[in-house]
Symmetry: C2
Subunit: 346 residues, 2 copies
Amino acid sequence: VKGGFLKVLAGEPVWPPPLWMMRQAGRYLPEYREVRSRARNFLDFCYSPALATEVTLQPIRRFGFDAAILFSDILVVPDAMGRKVSFVEGEGPLLEPIGVDEVEKLANPEVVLQRLGPVYEAVERIRGALPVEIPLIGFCGAPWTVATYMIQGRGGDRTPSRLFAYRNPAEMVLLLDRLADASVVHLEAQAKAGANALQIFESWAEGLPPAAFQDWVVRPIRRIVDGLRQRGVTTPIIGFPRGAGLNLQNFAGLTGVDGVGIDTATSIKSARAILGDRADGRQIATQGAMDPQALVTGGATLERAVQNTLAEIHGVPHVFNLGHGITPDADPANVARFVDLVRSGT
Amino acid sequence: VKGGFLKVLAGEPVWPPPLWMMRQAGRYLPEYREVRSRARNFLDFCYSPALATEVTLQPIRRFGFDAAILFSDILVVPDAMGRKVSFVEGEGPLLEPIGVDEVEKLANPEVVLQRLGPVYEAVERIRGALPVEIPLIGFCGAPWTVATYMIQGRGGDRTPSRLFAYRNPAEMVLLLDRLADASVVHLEAQAKAGANALQIFESWAEGLPPAAFQDWVVRPIRRIVDGLRQRGVTTPIIGFPRGAGLNLQNFAGLTGVDGVGIDTATSIKSARAILGDRADGRQIATQGAMDPQALVTGGATLERAVQNTLAEIHGVPHVFNLGHGITPDADPANVARFVDLVRSGT
């Protein structure tokens, strides 16, 4: 496996930029919806190596993206740790909110590894089926984001998780550490099964006070990166702290990641100016940040959105992507046009 | 009227910093809930000069804040422009979503002025009742935020408003301009009735692509500031683009505001480094940005939150405030402690 995506993660600019889309294996594709309908529920879907393999490959076949991303979910980790997780159609994930005294009862990393066997089997199958030049991305949720779901029982405004952390600082540290340690083995297993890059999704980084951002976002991500490196995993790591805003200050240096995902609201140039240096002296790689709504609107809006992003990334190591996942109402024809526009590089 | 608050808005550092709280007249106060229960519904409450005056004064009496803010709502403007606005207990505001062809039917600024007479009467009464040294803040919603409510029919994720803007760029410009022009006369009338400062709340600035932020946030706020200055209104203006993140780059210079509200997620120091210069050459004033959840938690969390904010504002013109409105579950005893901590300045 080689290609532009891994070059960029190594700090080398590539033109035209490598391209993939968050949620590229998703509901906007009719062939995805067909496969989805074969599974009883969303978690079964994630735990079926055959189905997960099929939907992971679909967008590669249809659009020829420069990277594939494992079809899975960030909530398989709390599920494997023994929390009740379900997905209600149209409502998103629902969990049984965790109590303060339940944190220490969470399953340990060995149990997580065993329970998530089907995920690593999917990674192996996908790696075997993918063209050799297309890298495969494995992933996990960042501890704060996963903790948010575990505490609130759902996504959303993060007030309950902030209050939990303020009121129970010791238990919050324990919860974040447990999640980081489970994430280390989960990502390591994906890398061993064939993943060529790893992404840590911090979907709920937004709205956190700067001091809390350091404690709840930066420190746990650093723990994951250090844990992987200590175990000899050299796979490049992308951190994506969505909504971090000015908390991106020195995010690369503080966490040790190789690449940083940039959200819709953030100028790539401004972000690169404050992200800080990589420990290995290479240029930080960035990834993002086009508004997925441009793929819903299409036409001149889409062209302008591609141009705005391209204009920011000349000469720097950047992976073209969206700033958030593609939405189910996007037209696949707009995605095809999008790929052409990015590939033309103008 | 003089005092620290207006000095800071003029660019002079003051120590200890002047202090007020967003939503200081609100549901966390039992005396507020008592007055609120006298009005049939929330809009009636806003349009009752007697009740609005009473609740505006309550937190000044109880805590001695350094500024009062008119009790009103940003949605009185679309209400006065002829849109259906209601407030459902526990659900927030609900509006009849505006259609593309309805934008040009919105009532003009003269009608808005006439319909909002009770608001200006409240401003006059409050100004008459307030101690002479306590400044009164008038306000409006920024056009993008108000348009978001008008398009979606509610607050929330802003995807419908982004799509509306992408699909109907001309109508979006028209809607934002109409709202800016109505806001100019609305703020001018508040200033004439006795408001000593004006705040423009851009509550939904978060998540906007940088180009869209310029078109939908910066340009309309600039239109309001220019409109007021052209009409001879010299009252200082604070813009509060909540969630702007790196889009704060040169926000002061681009909009012409005298002060900028800083949200919970943003380091005041980092923000001041990128806000840019005021047109008049004075230092930009900032305001914010403590996490309101610290007032719910109290204790050591509250002390640390106050200290973190104080540590960022030594020697710079800053108004101590929250980064978001105080929530109904905050204990007034924590607010009293908060005031003492800020006043002690350590």
